[in-house]
């Protein structure tokens, strides 16, 4: 009997093992884990399966495979199989084995392009990016369009590497990563959390906001315009806060309305909030001034010191060079961002945010879940009006939306709920007026260092296939398809037609609208000082206060450091560390 039991257990364990292994090889078609088709040629593609997911790549794969179903790349085989390897492995884990791994094309994030190039990891993909062979006309783009033509000047200067008098490309940007404020538009509409027209003439909170006065008109918002002008709809930001002071007044208004004004994750709050600070600085400084922080060539017009709590601007502009780049620690945008974040994290304002905002066991997914469920869970929790997160949040929270649909019905779906990316308020009324007068009212900060590249040791015969696929996924059709799948933009210039815009969620449309009306700062350059000290200019290090303090939120919250003190010490420390940089 004992022996029989052993046999039964043995068989069961074997079955579990066997089915467990074969279970991995089932072709489910949609998640990218599929069997290798021996009748087709494979192109192996690694996709970082984080917030943006890999559905966009599955969609591109299907179209590409169909398009080349009859092509012969290898003897005895017909057609191509784009084999996707979707993994949530950080780039530091992946990068050590790029040349050893099977994957031939990579889509990833937080990667140092120049480092990879210096390590000999990247194949030359110039043919796919620029020149006659790079024409995307064959794939439906207007003739003469190349991937290079979709890059900004800053991107071209970074990704294009001069070699023997020619520009070579070894990598390309991938998706966009802006950090900002998401607001629950349904809640705002329902509760009237909008500034009303002429609010500046009133003192009382209830007079300054729409609240229950449903008939009142919203203010014109940060762009200072409303309605459709020359085919552009300016109404999406109506009623939203124009200045930082407005924003904190809105927070107080929401709190008074019985809701939680703003929330964020607790586990990595320093990184999220500090990235958000970089967004504030970029928006304040604008493209040219912010880019000085990475290219160190140009005139800094916004430097100063803080005296008695007031920012005193230098009388003259400062010429920035790699030798005196530390002067940029005195940019006004940095001081304003410090003041903003201080108001957000100071303990006396704890009532304005979620109570786990500094709790190490409260993840970004928890914050997203709570943001979505709050106010929709039978009265257990009160509404949450805003969330600090990246543009990827809605796609990342797809499972939560699906669960809510299963629990509460279709009204809880991504398509039926309305969230929007909030245009960042401006530090001062002057800045707001300046922005309203400009066609690029905002400056976004893309912190994510996303990348697409082909590994250096790809087989020679396969390289043309890889380059062709790179071209394919950068056609307008593929870029738009990415946006439709993720509700976020790729880090390229491309138009999205009305029909495709209609396929996006409200949040996705708000992001695209914001992108269209913004300049974008990419925190990199090809300046040797930058390349040799890249980590120094990352979102954490550029705020370093001392050898052991580099995160503003914790320094302000736990140590009570004021914005003024931080700003002053930031300059002192940056000046000191400048001497130790690699040159």
């Amino acid at each position: 009997m004992k022996s029989l039991s052993k046999k039964v257990i043995g068989i069961l364990l074997s079955a579990v093992l066997v089915f467990g292994i074969t279970g991995c090889s089932f072709d489910n078609g949609d998640d990218g884990m599929e069997a290798i088709d021996p009748t087709r040629t494979q192109l192996f593609v690694f996709s970082y399966d984080g917030g943006y997911g890999s559905d966009w790549l599955v969609a591109a794969k299907k179209r590409y495979e169909q398009l080349h179903a009859e092509d012969v790349y290898e003897e005895g085989k017909k057609g191509i199989q784009i084999y996707i390897n979707p993994k949530k492995e950080g780039f530091s884990t992946v990068s050590d084995n790029i040349l050893l791994n099977r994957d031939e094309i990579y889509f990833h994030e937080y990667a140092y392009y120049k480092t990879l190039k210096s390590q000999g990891m990247l194949a030359d993909i110039t043919e796919a990016v620029t020149g006659d062979k790079a024409d995307l006309g064959a794939y439906g783009d207007p003739a003469g369009t190349t991937i290079e033509s979709k890059l900004t000047e800053q991107q071209k200067a970074y990704y294009g590497i001069e070699e023997n008098g020619e520009t070579h490309y070894y990598g390309l940007p991938h998706y966009s990563g802006y950090m900002g404020i998401v607001y629950n538009r349904d809640l705002f509409d329902r509760k009237g959390y909008y500034f009303r027209e002429g609010y500046e003439n009133y003192d009382e909170l209830e007079d300054r906001f729409i609240l229950q006065s449903k008939g009142a008109t919203k203010s014109k918002g940060p762009d200072g315009k409303t309605g459709v002008i020359d085919g552009v709809d300016y109404s999406l930001d109506d009623g939203l806060p124009v200045t930082y002071d407005d924003f904190f007044e809105l927070i107080h208004c929401i709190y008074s309305g019985g809701d939680t004004p703003i929330s964020w994750l607790g586990a990595d709050y320093n990184s999220y909030l500090q990235n958000f600070m970089c967004s504030l600085v970029a928006d304040y400084e604008g493209l040219d001034q912010m880019s000085l922080n990475f290219n160190f060539h140009g005139e800094a017009t916004d430097l100063g010191t803080v005296q008695g709590g007031q920012f005193v601007k230098d009388e003259e502009a400062t010429e920035i060079t790699p030798e005196n780049g530390y002067e940029l620690a005195r940019q006004r945008g940095k001081y304003e961002a410090l003041k903003f974040i201080n108001r957000l994290v100071t303990k006396s304002n704890d009532q304005y945010h979620n109570n786990l905002a500094f709790n190490g066991a409260y993840s970004h997914m928890d914050a997203q879940d709570d943001f979505l469920y709050a106010g929709n869970d039978g009265g257990r929790t009160n509404n949450r009006a805003m969330l600090i997160d990246g543009v990827w949040w809605e796609n990342e929270a797809s499972d939560t939306f699906d669960n809510m649909v299963a629990q509460y019905g279709e009204t809880m779906s991504k398509d039926n709920r309305n969230f929007c990316y909030m245009p960042l308020p401006k530090a001062t009324e002057e800045k707001a007026a300046e922005a309203a007068a400009s066609d690029k009212a905002m400056t976004l900060y893309d912190h994510i260092f996303s990348i697409c590249f082909v590994k250096a040791n790809i087989a020679e015969w396969k390289k043309p296939i890889a380059l062709d696929f790179i071209k394919f996924v950068h056609t307008d059709e593929s870029l738009v398809e990415f946006t439709v799948h993720t509700n976020t933009p790729k880090a390229f210039n491309y138009e999205i037609g009305e029909a495709d815009l209609a396929k996006l969620t409200t949040f996705g449309r708000s992001v695209i609208e914001l992108k269209n009306r913004s300049n974008i700062v990419y925190p990199y350059s090809s300046e040797p000082l930058y390349v040799l000290n890249q980590s120094t200019f990352g979102f954490a290090e550029q705020w370093r206060y001392s050898s052991t303090k580099q995160f503003v939120p914790i320094a302000m919250r736990d140590d009570g450091i004021t914005a003024e003190a931080y700003f002053s010490q930031l300059y002192t420390y940056t000046q000191t560390k400048w001497n130790g940089l690699n040159k």
Binding site: S92, A361, Y362, V531, G538, A540, T548, G580
Partner: protein, 307 residues
């Protein structure tokens, strides 16, 4: 008449021993060569290099050494890190070692549930560190405040969120997960004590604490001193699992040299950024090596003898 033995001789015992020895030692020696000599040799050389990844050139310089030496003596942040590193080592030594010894003694004496204790205390050593940290962090950050709320109707922040309890919680965790190896080694050391000695001590009326103090402790002192010496050597490399808890954003008052070095290595964007970290590591080694040798000498000179 002597005839030549044409038969092929069988493999001699000596040769067999040599083959066995080589096959057993090849892997550890290779591992030592690669993971100790090559890695540390590489770090040593990095300390004197300036690397330009744009031109792919390396120049030799004392710049990093000089810069890091200056930082160590002039930067007030380094003083905080030094203090935390030393205090943490002492706390783990003063609290962790006696507790580890007591648990080991309990297990050695086969007192009730000693088997279960052995498994429970060793469990953290076999479960992935990140899993343990996640479970522990959830417990102290989310579960404990909830218990307090339900039982005492009081709202408290998580133990790691609260600046007053943060350091103590981290030290508690490190003591707890440090038990595994210690208890195993001490208990094994105790099992080697001759039963006859213990029996004769019992005949002489020695029991309990006296037995532990006069017989058990001196008998396993070599094991204890090994732990103390390796602990000293690790003062500047122990990072108290801070990276698992906080990632790159550990509060200043928790940071140790181990964490500082780890974070700067992890954050480096390219080879060009390694020399400073390597130089700092080398300078700390210059402190750690004589300190370790001094402690080793003191242990041998003043420690109790098993005789």
């Amino acid at each position: 008449m002597r005839t030549k033995n044409t038969q092929k001789p069988m493999m001699s015992g000596k040769r067999k021993d040599m083959i066995f020895y080589i096959s057993m030692m090849a892997f550890p020696v290779a591992q030592f060569a690669v993971f100790y000599i090559v890695v540390n040799g590489g770090s040593f050389l990095l300390s004197f290099q300036n690397i330009n990844i744009l031109t792919d050139t390396t120049t030799w310089t004392f710049d990093s050494i000089a810069r890091m030496a200056k930082m160590l003596v002039t930067d007030s942040g380094m003083l905080t890190v030094l203090k935390t590193s030393l205090v943490s080592y002492l706390l783990l030594l003063v609290i962790g070692t006696p507790l580890g010894l007591l648990f080991s003694y309990y297990i050695f004496k086969k007192l009730p549930l000693s088997g279960a204790f052995r498994v429970i205390l060793f469990l953290p050593s076999i479960i992935s560190a990140i899993v343990m940290v996640t479970i522990f962090q959830f417990f102290v950050e989310r579960a404990m405040p909830e218990f307090v709320r339900v039982l005492f109707h009081k709202n408290i922040p998580g133990l790691m969120e609260n600046t007053a309890t943060r350091y103590g919680t981290v030290i508690f965790y490190n003591i707890w997960i440090g038990f595994g190896t210690g208890v195993l080694m001490y208990a094994n050391g105790m099992s080697g004590i001759s039963q006859e000695i213990i029996d004769s001590a019992h005949v002489d009326g020695v029991t309990g604490l006296r037995e532990f103090w006069s017989i058990t402790l001196p008998s396993i002192f070599p094991t204890i001193s090994t732990f103390i010496i390796t602990g000293v050597a690790g003062i500047f490399t122990s990072q108290l699992n801070l990276f698992s808890f906080y990632g790159g954003a550990a509060p200043e008052n928790l940071q140790t040299f181990g964490y500082y070095l780890y974070m700067h290595t992890q954050a480096a964007a390219s080879r060009a950024e390694y020399p400073d970290v390597a130089a700092l590591g080398l300078l700390l080694s210059c402190v750690a090596i004589p300190l370790t040798l001094l402690v080793k000498w003191a242990m041998e000179k003043f420690g109790p003898s098993a005789d």
